[in-house]
Subunit: 221 residues, 2 copies
């Protein structure tokens, strides 16, 4: 077996990562068990054996801790996408990367799914959850840009954003209906790649640039 894990990272760094991981995990576990409103920061901290104050050195809110799992995914996503062969069509690469990433994550587990379903009712979480997805989206956009060679950053963001849309929709469908996640995901990505012909009823579209200059907006967005 391997002799010593050569600690590339200073002991400090390892401890830090471990603490963060432990806190996130505890937060998620407790939340799934009791529901977010019945988990105090103190509980999470105690579970891990640190002071409540320390919790806030790592996360600025409970919600953030619970959702940090989602954020951590961006790393894997990035690697998976960059690992795809050079000549492969972009949509195929993205699809495979996404599927790869979600394949390596656990088995559904009934009770677990049920809990998640409840969790998503928690508005507090939804905001942070979406926020986390937005973070992944960013990384994905960058990676796509790198992959296609830095053209049109706007479109890269659009693609990343709609891919994450597909993921979210598939995910929601999964825990609401118990249909398997991956097939749905695959299907949705294919639809995206084709402009959703199934819905729009064929290919009668006209890519005709329309340059109408209309007034603009006020309000937040």
């Amino acid at each position: 077996m391997a002799p010593d894990e050569p600690p590339k990272l200073t002991l400090r760094e390892r401890k830090k990562r471990e603490a963060r991981r432990a806190l996130a995990q505890a937060a998620l576990r407790l939340t799934l068990e009791r529901g977010l409103e019945n988990v105090r920061v103190e509980d999470i901290a105690t579970e891990v054996g640190v002071s409540p104050r320390t919790f806030n050195n790592y996360f600025s809110s409970k919600e953030q801790a619970v959702c940090s799992v989602v954020v951590d995914r961006h790393e894997g996503m990035r690697e998976a996408l960059l690992a795809r062969p050079e000549g492969e069509p972009l949509w195929e690469s993205v699809k495979q990367a996404v599927i790869h990433q979600y394949s390596r994550e656990g088995e559904p587990d009934r009770a677990y799914v049920a809990r998640i379903r409840e969790l998503m009712g928690q508005l507090m979480l939804r905001g942070e959850f979406l926020n986390a997805h937005a973070a992944v989206e960013r990384v994905l956009a960058e990676t796509i840009a790198k992959r296609v060679g830095g053209v049109d950053h706007l479109l890269c963001r659009l693609m990343a954003s709609s891919v994450e849309s597909a993921v979210r929709v598939a995910f929601v469908n999964w825990f609401m209906t118990d249909e398997p996640l991956l097939p749905t995901l695959e299907r949705l990505l294919d639809e995206l790649a084709a402009g959703m012909p199934t819905l729009t009823g064929g290919t009668d579209r006209k890519p005709e640039p329309n340059t109408t200059t209309t007034p603009l907006g006020e309000s937040l967005c």
Copy 2:
């Protein structure tokens, strides 16, 4: 002068709506002026002339109040989409509906844009902002479903979701670069409808299955 405004809605209802609107507006105005962290609930309430406690009868957080403008859009979006002619291709209808909705909103105003840019840095807001978009997304999905005749609800959600993605991306681009919003929006929606050919470089895609069964983990999504 006009005789009597026939108050379809009981006086009560009007007051309620007005209060809500006033609170949201005050919240947004103050936040744009000073930044969210320098606005207390008390300030907003005082501005409108109600007690702080009353604020929480309308909104469960400052963030929610600020972002309620976004949520209110779903109504207009729904109407605009349903108003499109019957035979029109779906993507065209959606595009026009979205553009219509965003056309009817006020003038940009430099300083205003700058403020918004800052605001989006506020993480507190981003979560609620995305949440608001999610609400719009829901309504949009339903409306699309109604429009196409209730087929495949999953795809409707995907479409709604990716349309909102386009809106968000266009919006971010707008306040980050000062490029006009509507043309960008239009372009992105066209790209979506065509499967983003500009990025993917044409239509040469070939499905190549890759079955990597990797270990399992557990995570939120």
